[in-house]
Symmetry: C2
Subunit: 160 residues, 2 copies
DNA sequence: CAAACTCGGATTGATGTTGTCCGAGTTCAA
DNA sequence: TTGAACTCGGACAACATCAATCCGAGTTTG
């Protein structure tokens, strides 16, 4: 029930990529966050497979956001990294054992399953309501707009 | 990000234990659901450690609910099995790398962290709003009250 | 055209979950 | 009182998934 640590990196990378038009290599993003370059590359590949970023190969290649930040929700990123399978899988215990219910009585999901689905839906709705643009606005409000500006400038021409 | 399969068994066991005053052994609960006896015992131990059920040892021992079903939420069971650690752990990437923010600028949780916390809170709130008594009522409404009655009777004197 | 730089997937090690086992303790009955 | 059977409880392996790494395929650029 623990979320993959790569999700945090992926979200931070998406925030940093806002406002940058040139492709940014995975190695640059890794140095910015001081994390493993190879492993962050794996997360960026997952984002590319999900269509959130576009990968550009070649000498001055890297990753670019495919959509405006306002159209990328945190849920999109989480699903791209963690996968689309629901967190709770019902094994239909009511159809097993000596008092098994008949399959025709189990057309609707069982009560336990429905409670879990509702909770997961609430979770997804909350994440879907926050976009990368919202995160950018929050950071600007908290720490000032110059923080992200410096990050974007560093991504274009990294020093060190 | 996948929920432990033992959670499903634990919730079903709590539902089955409602209305039963005598202790029910783990072996009986395992046969009812046709699952591994030893592994279900592990889940029941976790419930006992969390104080949701009381374990009675000896010849006619077993497990009994400690509280009325209306006072046991699904969240209580999930936390007892999965643990109380939050699903998202912030590693404070903003304080790392060449553009690291100073610690005094990080007194409040970062925007990413807050979004994740809000989603997890929504998930917990949804689970906390469903009690075991609610699940019992739902099953009674869906399949009729005799289904759970037969289960309770079987738990007291199992055949086969 | 060649060289350098990029992404992409296949490979290995660490961590947590799933499943199993046997010993400590308690209750019941003789 | 004594014994025996039955219970829980924690310690023990097997499996799967996550974390981290490496090298090859492809592209751009000079």
């Amino acid at each position: 029930m623990k979320m993959s640590g790569g999700v945090e990196w992926a979200v931070h990378c998406c925030v940093a990529l806002t406002g940058v038009t040139e492709p940014v290599p995975a190695a640059t993003l890794a140095r910015l966050n001081d994390v493993s370059m190879s492993y962050l590359a794996k997360q960026m590949q997952a984002l590319a497979r999900a269509g959130l970023v576009r990968s550009v190969q070649g000498k001055s290649g890297g990753y670019v956001l495919t959509r405006p930040a306002a159209e990328i929700s945190v849920l999109d990123i989480v699903l791209a990294i963690e996968g689309r399978e629901p967190q709770f899988v019902c094994t239909e215990v009511r159809q097993r054992g000596p008092l098994a219910a008949s399959p025709e009585d189990c057309l609707r999901a069982c009560a336990v399953h429905r409670a879990m689905l509702a909770a997961e839906q609430a979770w997804r709705t909350s994440l879907a309501g926050v976009s990368v643009a919202d995160l950018v606005a929050t950071v600007d409000r908290d720490s000032g707009p110059d923080v992200l500006s410096r990050v974007r400038g560093w991504l274009v021409s990294p020093t060190s």
